[in-house]
Symmetry: C2
Subunit: 629 residues, 2 copies
């Protein structure tokens, strides 16, 4: 299997005595088999307990493997969900400040989406200013975190408002039947911890239902809310061209990597980098080169066409180039190792969020009220660091890939509307009906050191498109696919005939050679865009979500967030492949429910497959079984 | 060291092939050393990672021992806190329904406390009905779970309302200085999960500050809120006499054990057991005998004088007697093993809460709206089970201990007021000043299988009272102390002269031989009562909490709740002993901060001590160091 790891960078790291994620992974071998199977429990201090079939089948309290495995899963999903709901709240509170005039640093770029959301929420917009509408949307959105049983607002039900914006009736019915409609995002997350403490739920199926409930919290009060609000503030992405790979760093420029997940920070750093070029030139640089890492990279690519430096596992390697003057981070997926690496080179590591500090890094708190001032400070620090680096040797990989990104649902509709203005999705649905396009698969998620540099994501994507499957995706997959040139129109040559023909047809209608066969739909939080795409296709084709030829794969997932996202897709009725295999094998009940019974509950199931070939075969099997479009 | 384990019951369990918690504990030996040290991390799926000093000092992401240990601690405390805030919400929503007339099953027994709380919250009560005041209190209390940054109600600040009810100014200042005042209980708990996911906070001190913040959530939006609301509904406890130990079961009676934590259920079961005696007599029983297990036992003892059957580790042994017809559980500390044991005997295990199910048990959902109907159903099930059991052999231990309980702060004040009507605390403070009473120690918490049946709690209590330390406590300690006859006035003979004299003086003034030297202050959630007692003593003596000769000990803690409670005491400035030792030794920073630097932050620290003697010595040392009363 191919690898995406640049051997020159790895050698340089060795020479520089910079320890990389791969090194730490090998050091950790062999990993604990109980931990790997999630059959150990630390939920009370009579433990830790571990299950050994036939020998010790119960923890001290009496919890068996089924209970331990499902409880651990619920806690993982709760933690993942908390990341997205906190993210949503962060941008929501920014929109509140914008709407109240408490910050002038941010615009409201997509008024159309603001009014769309307001209408979906049943809010009056007539005669109101943009800021007034924004504030009323924020207040409805904050209800996701304020709603309490027993305190019923007349106009709302007892579940998430964002269902009104993004869910369809058929799904709502299925979730309601299972009694998994959440009341309040934070309360459900907190409750999951309660449910899983020693001496509460002993029913593994009950625990799994809470897992499904948190998937809805994640998808709607987390990801969809975050994406919608970010689009309102920063604009909805449209087709854009850019470049990817570590080669986007430039030797004689002030290189700033923005890394993390919140566009609130990175958009401002970008803006001020464009205004402060003179500062850089004064110290002998050719200018300021802001490039994006991880999902911040995806956000900036989607809306601003900013080059994508690399995915989560390249965050250290980027510094090893010796060319990065500042890495500015907000939250999530920031390796704690980063300061150790930064200190091997001339890189200034700047943390900006009060609950994401790294000892040794420079902490410059980033506040929405003073966003401009904070961004300017950051740029100045980077320029200072460049002065120290200037003239020293760097090793920037040569390869730079070209890509097209920006495939929001709105962008996709705009592109497709060139074939059918009235029913933009119709041409795609027709191709799926005929089987020319076998289906759509969302490939999402992280990179995981367990794969030891394998290119599972790229291989899987290649096999799928070869089999006429349109691939859409987000997160670190997007970096991987871009670097493998799969987001380039020229990649249609790798696609099966049916898919190729379709992509060329839409491409030509839009003045392009073709559309790429792998569509970049955004950051990991933008899995909501994929959910929205699938939901809208379901409505446009009058086919329920579980009956659509769609599937999902997280072939190299690593973060707890990924599990939450996976459950969201399962809730949507989308069968989901994961690799590494979920740690549920120790529990017969969890295995049966998630890989089988779930079909009856929400119309989807979990599938495994530890090579791109086996994964692709199973996924294609799922698509082929859904031909009643 | 003595043991509280009844060997006859254990032998019977062996004969009946009923596996007990001790058996499972031995089966689990040896326990994982990484888990024991909390130096393993499963917060992402590149792991599990474990720290081996000198060999593998970092997880795959770069997290070191300091980070892994503190993150694990924060997650434990978050889970423990969630138990108490959920508990508070449960009774709060009941009070809402009562105030809105949606249930007629519950009274508002303590109107005085209701109005006290309302006044503290700054609510107008003049001319309002009890129900109106109750509703306004509920709305303010629910703000603990609704408050969002940026949405400021005029009358409130950005932190918990319950600080107004239960915190003093000096402490508020200390917490504010550390910037640990919580905004919203559920949001803080959820946020703690976010903070501890892979790639967020890498600063262990920052993580520890969040631990301190959650201690405040636990103490005020969890425990204090729950206790105050329960007192409002069910009445504030006053001195009451009762019995303890498994001997409270009665052979020819329908024996019902109520087990868990919520008085909403147990109060009703008790009420209907008193009304439905005839049902029992019809089937040949002498009557219905409701006894309490675990903290439900404490709640019923405190307010109703109901016999206390046993603590958390006796929940299985109670069933081994063969005399229990029904065990009715609500939530928390319900061993998942209970149904296995129940099925060895004739016991009907009845679960009542939707997120606390046990496969095989009878689930009768308990709803506040239909509390009476639910309670009647439960009694009928127990009577049915008695019919099957009738005539079969039982083994009920003979020993029954007499105790006095019901030491709410109000009860204590009433007792002391017989010595000084105007300043009830003055006599106690004077004794503490003179050193006749060396200080007050709260002994709280669970029983833990790791102690293999030792009587650490009882031994520690004995040593302390012998050294003139007044012992107050809650939770499973209360069962242990009662069973060891330490809550009996006759136990004053075990006390040092100063303490003995004081207890006799107050006792005589109240028409008793003496007060017991160990005061039962309630269930584990009632650690809030201890906090309130300490706070009021601080105010009455014009001495800051950290300067008072008080301390806390959780000598056999087991639940994640205990850690949250421990942090609450630390926040209050109360130095706290824990055993088993906290799993922080792997982290130099956590060890230094919690056992040392914390003094500078909140005026308290964590102490260890793995025998009653060493623990007592250290605790007494703390009390002796605080003589500036």
């Amino acid at each position: 299997m191919n690898s995406w790891v640049d051997p020159k960078i790895v050698s340089k790291a060795r020479r520089d005595k910079a320890k990389l994620v791969f090194d730490r992974f090998e050091e950790q071998q062999p990993q604990c088999v109980f931990g790997l199977g999630d059959v150990c429990c630390k939920n009370c201090f009579q433990g830790p307990c571990r299950i050994i079939p036939g020998k010790q089948e119960e923890g001290v309290c009496g919890a068996n493997a089924d209970l331990i495995v499902t409880r651990n899963l619920l806690r993982h999903v709760a933690a993942g969900t908390a990341c997205h709901t906190d993210h949503a709240k962060e941008v929501l509170l920014a929109l509140l400040k914008i709407s109240e005039g408490k910050t002038k640093s941010y615009p409201i770029k997509d008024k159309e989406k603001l009014f769309f959301v307001a209408r979906k929420l049943g809010l009056k917009t007539f005669g109101k200013s943009v800021k007034q509408v924004a504030k009323s949307v924020v207040l409805e959105a904050l209800e996701e975190f304020r709603r309490q049983e027993g305190l019923l607002k007349q106009r709302e039900g007892l579940t998430l408002n964002w269902f009104k914006v993004r869910a369809n009736k058929e799904r709502m019915k299925a979730w309601s039947k299972l009694d998994i409609l959440p009341v309040n995002a934070d309360a459900e997350i907190s409750h999951a911890l309660h449910q899983t403490t020693m001496g509460n739920d002993a029913d593994p199926v009950n625990v799994l239902l809470s897992v499904l409930k948190l998937g809805l919290v994640d998808g709607f009060a987390g990801m969809s809310l975050a994406t919608d609000v970010q689009d309102i503030i920063f604009g909805t992405p449209y087709l854009t061209k850019s470049t990817a790979n570590l080669g986007v760093l430039k030797k004689d420029w002030v290189n700033i990597i923005v890394h993390g997940h919140l566009p609130l920070l990175s958009e401002k750093v970008l803006e001020w980098s464009r205004k402060m070029g003179l500062h850089a030139k004064k110290v002998g640089a050719k200018g300021i080169n802001v490039v994006g890492m991880c999902c911040t990279g995806n956000e900036l690519l989607m809306r601003q066409g900013v080059p994508m430096a690399g995915h989560v596992m390249q965050q250290e390697m980027a510094l090893v180039t010796g060319a990065v003057d500042a890495t500015v981070v907000d939250l999530q997926c920031i390796y704690p190792s980063l300061q150790d690496i930064a200190s091997c080179y001339n890189t200034r590591l700047i943390t900006t969020i009060d609950f994401v500090k790294i000892p040794g890094a420079l902490h410059l708190p980033f506040e929405v009220e003073n966003a401009d001032r904070s961004a300017k400070k950051i740029i100045k620090e980077a320029v200072k660091a460049f002065q120290k680096r200037k003239g020293k040797n760097v090793l920037i990989p040569e390869k730079v890939s070209e890509l097209y990104g920006g495939f929001s649902v709105e962008a996709i509709k705009t592109l497709l509307s060139k074939l059918d203005k009235k029913n933009p999705f119709k041409p795609l649905i027709n191709e799926m009906k005929s089987g020319n396009v076998l289906g759509i698969v969302a490939v999402v998620g992280c990179r995981n050191a367990k794969l030891r540099g394998q290119a599972f994501q790229e291989e899987l994507t290649r096999i799928l498109i070869k089999n006429n499957v349109l691939v859409v995706g987000t997160g670190c997959w997007a970096h991987a696919a871009a670097q493998a040139d799969l987001m380039n129109p020229r990649a249609v040559k790798l696609a099966g005939d049916g898919l190729k023909h379709f992509l060329e047809k839409v491409g030509e209608a839009n003045g392009l050679e073709a559309l790429p066969p792998a569509w970049h739909m955004g950051s990991c939080v933008d899995c909501s865009r994929i959910g929205a795409l699938f939901t809208q296709l379901s409505e446009a084709s009058n086919t329920s979500l579980p009956d659509l030829p769609i599937a999902c794969s997280a072939p190299e997932y690593m973060a707890e967030k990924s599990l939450a996202i996976g459950v969201y897709f399962l809730d949507l009725g989308v069968t989901t492949h994961v690799n590494p295999a979920l740690s549920i094998k120790g529990s017969k009940i969890a295995t049966r429910v998630l890989t089988k019974d779930l079909e009856k509950l929400v119309g989807s199931r979990v599938i495994f497959g530890s090579t791109p070939e086996t994964a692709a075969k199973k996924i294609i099997g799922v698509l082929k079984s859904k031909r009643n479009l």
